[in-house]
Amino acid sequence: MSGRRNRLKIFPALTLAVFLLPILVGLLFTWAPAFGYLSAAGSNRFSLEPFATLLHHPSLPGALRSTFISGIGASLMSLGLALWIATTLYGSRLWSTIELSLAPLLSLPHAAFAIGFSFLIAPSGWLIRSVSPFPSGFTYPPDWTTNGDPWAISLTLTMLFKETPFLLLMIFSGLSRLDVRRTIWVGRSLGYHRLRIWTRLIIPQLYPMLRLPLLAVLAYSLSVVDLAYIIGPSLPPTLAVLIDRWFHDPDISSRFVGAAGALLLLLVTLACIGSALVLEYLISKIASRKILDGRRKSPFELLVGSGSFYALILLGVNVLSLTALMLWSVAHSWRFPHFLPARFSFSNWSAALSHLLEPVSVSALAAFLSCLLAIILVVGCFENEQNLARSRIDSISQRSLWIIYLPLLIPQISFLFGIQVLLIIFNLEGSWGTLIWIHLVFVLPYVFLTLANTYRSYDQRYSYVGTSLGARPVRSFFRVKLIMLTKPILFSMAVGFGVSIAQYLPTLYVGAGRFATITTETVSLASGSDRRVMAVYALSQFLLALTGFLTAIVLPAIMFRNRRAMQN
């Protein structure tokens, strides 16, 4: 037993080594130009000028405004929406529909959704087309400001619709650890209204499991580049887009301002995370006083019906955006005000098919290997954690495991440039090993997040039965525990698979142009004008991620077809 425990001890250490060092060094190397150090541009003197330039940049105030509106707005609204849907719909048929649709919802890549959603709401888009020319009277699109609005509302909505499914997934996984059904019975029998049961009994238990996902959403929304580019404001764009632009501006001295901007974005993100934690503390202070006030009724009872309305909008927007992409991928020409393409053609697909093979295989291989490594590390960490808990040992490395969430809480743009320089110095860029490692950095936290609740609530007594029947712990682990956890393990791997496929900046920065993935190809085509080709690539990206989820659903069904208790 002790030998196994010792062996398990390397997992948290190994996991931390994968993350901590490279990210810290990456941050430092990215910051260097912000303080005047960029040897390639012949600059080796300490200077605060980059910050002065940044702070005096005319676009900075507007960019910060858009960043705050979209980042904070999208995270708070998606948390609210996800909780409201759970509160009002838990146990209903719509709730099961949502659970079933999570896999395709999560498979739809952010950029693909943004392209589809933008087409939906544009003045020349699908919604306006559906009422044009009759009854709206528009023979030409109206000059309205919908997508890409200067107030970043369309960007906020895009992220709201894209992040809510992720938070719903976390809610599903969190609820699996709570005894919701019985909590509701008890609440009901005491005469509490549904809203009260959730706000007083369930959400206080659920929230700790949503904290990290929420902070990840917050950090992501504040620093997202591709979505902000597709549907964000233009005069000026968000801070993340400005930084991205500085990092590839023809004028090399822009790298200094870019680096200062990257540091500012990191500070903004940390400040927002800090404020979110303070806000959480204040709310829990206020709420804990109210929790025992004994009120059964809630003034918001009348609004409960709106839950299904919001859920249907969430599903509808996603379905319509996806359908629009599908139609574009088989359109020859599709002009305003036609509701459907005037001419269909499969040539977009047939022309792309031969070019898709390589990027799809590269993406699939990188995604498979990185989530395989991730699951080994994650399961190892959990096993070590349970061993330690049993023997009541406090371990520093185990307690430091929150560090694996760093990549989710730190804007990618604030450390990737530094990692690139680092890899070049050690001659490591552009290799398979490096590519899989950088994907692992982002895949692992998501695998950790999605598996944690189910894995930790596994009933250890099954394994004890295994050992008491004479199996060694290792055998009992592989033959009992791992088999029983196959379903959640495969599902978290599918989430990781999807995360790996979606990686753009990390692939770009460490790949040295050696790896054309489905995402790098899609993004480069998205810088062009042809929606039809973009749609073909975006859908291929979607289908690849969906394959991962389908495998995670179908494989256990086949494996356990003869075991009824494992069916659900």
């Binding site: 012949g42 676009s59 609005d149 005069l235 002009r335 001419r343 110095i425 042809d530």
Partner: protein
């Protein structure tokens, strides 16, 4: 950064040293280069936003593989600036050979920056057999890229000239000056825009407006004189202040790129768009991307024109292969194919007069395309102003319109 002659001197010395070191390696004749290129893998980095262009490059890759045994990998990027960044990082990391980029599609400010920072291979295009066919006499921009001397450090690939695209179904009489464009916008509120600088096309539109409106055109071809900046650019800001309220979405949002403009034109949100490729409209009509009613026009007195190039970074690991590919892309065969509007429609950099009769027939048989202007209609090409003006104008533009 302060201008420091001492540092400049040291950079010059470094460049000279590199040149002298590489000189023996480069002083080989062409057959030797072709022999060395065999078996090499060339990573060609370029903007990959157009399937039409991607297909053309993939054709060229097949050809050089067949003929010279070179493998070409097309690295498609959303912005070539990312690649400049990577080469810069490689230089920072001390990677003077074995670099990840062998050939890149580039011009203007990016070329200027790479040349300034010693990120390019020393002069080599003079060795290309096909380089002598380039129309350096009439197409001055093949020698001066945004006024910066090319010095054989990049190989001309194609010609560009600013043209406007319009929807002839709604616009009968397209504008022919900036003043007329303003009138058009007043009559058709919200039906024109230009990409927000620092987007390349947005900056070009502003430069075109400045060149048309200012009385001090000659000053624009010298390095920017800050003392005269206000005087030279005053008419431009008067024009833009008048124009902006009548732009698409009241000027409160602007497209982020020329491709976005093209989509807006196809969607009929705008009636006038712009392009750097005179044959783009014809090509996009052929592929179904733009409606058949789209036509092209230019302004009286000419529009800005330039050349786009292929350049080899200083640390390329397949220099010979990159040279052979760049030379192949200059060949009459490849250039003729490229200028066919049903393939790509990118105008040639070659001088037809320098070609043999057989080579010329390759070009003679190419149809002009339904929406392409003839060379006479395209009118004179105005050269790009000095690159230093761009920075100053962009800064002022951001201050005024991107708050």
């Amino acid at each position: 950064m302060a201008y420091c002659p001492k540092r400049l001197l040291s950079i010059v010395i470094v460049i000279l040293t590199i040149m002298l070191n590489l000189a023996p390696a480069l002083a080989r004749d062409w057959p030797q280069i072709i022999a060395a290129a065999r078996g090499q893998t060339v990573y060609f980095n370029g903007w990959g936003g157009s399937e039409v262009i991607n297909r053309y490059i993939s054709w060229a890759a097949g050809q050089v593989n067949q003929r010279y045994g070179i493998t070409v990998k097309h690295v498609k990027v959303a912005d070539i600036g990312d690649v400049v960044s990577r080469i810069l990082a490689e230089k920072s990391g001390g990677r003077t050979s074995g670099g990840s980029v062998d050939l890149m599609w580039i011009n203007g400010e990016n070329f200027h920056a790479m040349k300034d920072n010693g990120l390019l291979l020393p002069p080599y295009t003079q060795m290309f057999p096909n380089y002598r066919l380039v129309d350096t006499e009439n197409k001055v921009s093949t020698l001066f890229d945004f006024t910066v001397p090319v010095d054989n450090q990049e190989s001309p690939w194609g010609m560009a000239q600013l043209v406007f695209l319009y929807d002839s179904e709604v616009v009968n009489d397209p504008p022919s000056t900036m003043a007329e464009l303003l009138e058009f916008c007043k009559d058709h509120k919200g039906r024109f825009s230009y990409p927000a600088p620092p987007d390349f096309y947005g900056t070009t539109f502003i430069k075109q407006a400045l060149l048309e409106l200012t009385g001090e055109r000659t000053l624009l071809y010298k390095p920017v004189d800050i003392g005269k900046f206000d005087q030279v650019t005053a008419p431009l800001w008067v024009f833009l202040d008048a124009l902006h309220p009548h732009l698409w979405r009241g000027g409160k949002a602007q497209p982020k790129s020329a491709p976005e403009m093209k989509r807006l034109l196809a969607d009929r949100e705008i009636f006038i768009s712009l392009s750097f490729n005179p044959a783009e409209a014809s090509n996009a009509i052929a592929t179904g991307e733009l409606p058949e009613s789209i036509r092209t026009y230019v302004h009286e007195g000419g529009t800005i024109g330039n050349t786009h190039f292929l350049a080899i970074p200083f640390n390329s690991s397949a220099q010979e292969g990159a040279m052979v590919l760049a030379d192949f892309l200059l060949s009459p065969e490849a250039q003729a194919r490229k200028s066919d509007p049903s393939i790509w429609g990118d105008p040639t950099v070659l001088a037809l007069a320098k070609l043999s009769p057989e080579q010329r027939t390759l070009f003679d048989t190419i149809p002009l395309g339904v929406a392409t202007l003839s060379p006479e209609e395209l009118g004179p090409v105005i050269l790009e102003p000095h690159a230093s003006w761009v920075t100053a104008i962009e800064k002022e533009w951001l201050r005024r319109y991107s708050k």
